[in-house]
Subunit: 217 residues, 2 copies
DNA sequence: GTCAAATAAATCAATATTGCTTCATTAGAA
DNA sequence: TTCTAATGAAGCAATATTGATTTATTTGAC
């Protein structure tokens, strides 16, 4: 079930774990945000924590957000002066990361099944961003990003090819397969976050659930 | 894909459709909210619209919320004076409605497959509330509701019985089946909301996706 | 230890939101 | 029509949030 209450297993920067982020050389010039395309490694965990915090508490004030990731309000401010900017930044970063994950998966190479496995593996490395994007996508005015993120197209095409090869069933339209797929990825990631499913078997679980379904054979 | 942008198909009270809600006999006493257990029919669509609006724009001010459902700030205030109260009310209403839906499904009766079909049918009647609850459950302090809403338990038990009868596969734990199931329901409801899948075949789609998976047979 | 960079804490004006009220207008039933 | 309940619009004080700054403290490299 999706609504359930235990606490975050995946949480990176919660109240109990006030990690110290080393916002890389932001210096004294708050508005000189470095290009999102080259997020410094030290900032990545901050971005990841922020993504999770924003998913958990969409209505949190910046003060609360800062607390949630174990950082002072001022540091968060220097990292990103306004909430809008922060969300833009996270979104841009997420788009970049996920697009890359899809690209690396080489969905065209060998069997669709193998390609799908690679896609899972690559996706699971960015749980926080996936959850963030699944929650904030529609609420974001991302003019330039929208075009960049035609994952729907990419995945629809992938599933269509799989259907043409006789691998995927054809009584479900390719876009619907895409939706089923992403529902499972996102839903099970959230389930993992709530401790309802183990992190260990997650890849296999997604695979089986998506490919074979729940019926005994 | 879950992140995608077209507009709400299922939207009840959007900007373009400023339905006039007849908040039933709230009279001049804003704080005399009638018991949530007996939500008047006229209020139900307001609750449904509010649920959707809150899902779409969690950070909307009450003013914006009112606009979103085509109602004045004052009317929303009379319907529910504070945001917390509103969310409590929606949550209580949702818990009641969903619990009822599960009860009506009679998960114990005849074959698990048939029971599952009934569960889908009953659930789809409350799309808005399901989406609302899936978004707000963890963020809500619902002391009394938590106990009332042991759907996890109910569904876990259902799937376990199905496994014992040899219907559901046993290499996936029952709670994981519950999570897969709810992931599909919620994810595909959102996909429908975004216009990615048609409303018509939704029941069959969920059923096939969950039971049989994506592989061709 | 010293020094510089990064951060936390506190402050503050500007702005937004909230909770609540008043009043004019509208919609609906008698 | 007439009367009344319900609504919409506007306004208002209390409060919260934001965006920005200043100062003190901590951290880490050297």
């Amino acid at each position: 079930m999706t609504f359930a209450g235990s606490r975050d297993m995946l949480m990176v920067g919660d109240d109990f774990e006030p990690k110290k982020f080393q916002a890389t050389s932001l210096k004294r010039h708050p508005h000189k945000e470095q290009g999102t395309m080259t997020a410094h490694p030290e900032n990545r965990e901050m971005l990841a924590s922020l993504a999770l915090a924003l998913v958990d508490q969409p209505r949190a004030s910046l003060q609360e957000l800062a607390r949630a990731i174990g950082v002072s309000k001022a540091t968060l401010y220097r990292f990103c002066p306004t909430r809008d900017r922060l969300i833009e930044r996270l979104m841009a970063y997420g788009v970049q990361v996920i697009s890359e994950a899809i690209a690396i998966a080489e969905l065209d190479r060998d069997s669709p099944i193998e390609a799908l496995k690679r896609l899972i593996e690559n996706s699971l490395k960015h749980r926080e961003l996936i959850l963030f994007m699944s929650n904030y996508w529609e609420k974001t005015t991302a003019p330039d990003l929208c075009s960049a993120a035609d994952w729907d197209t990419a995945l629809d095409g992938f599933f269509l090819r799989g259907q043409q090869q006789g691998v995927f069933r054809i009584d479900i339209a390719a876009p619907a397969l895409t939706e089923i797929w992403s529902s499972l990825v996102i839903g099970l990631l959230e389930a993992e976050r709530r401790g309802r499913v183990a992190r260990i078997g997650l890849t296999a679980l997604m695979e089986t659930a998506f490919l074979n379904g729940a019926l005994a054979r």
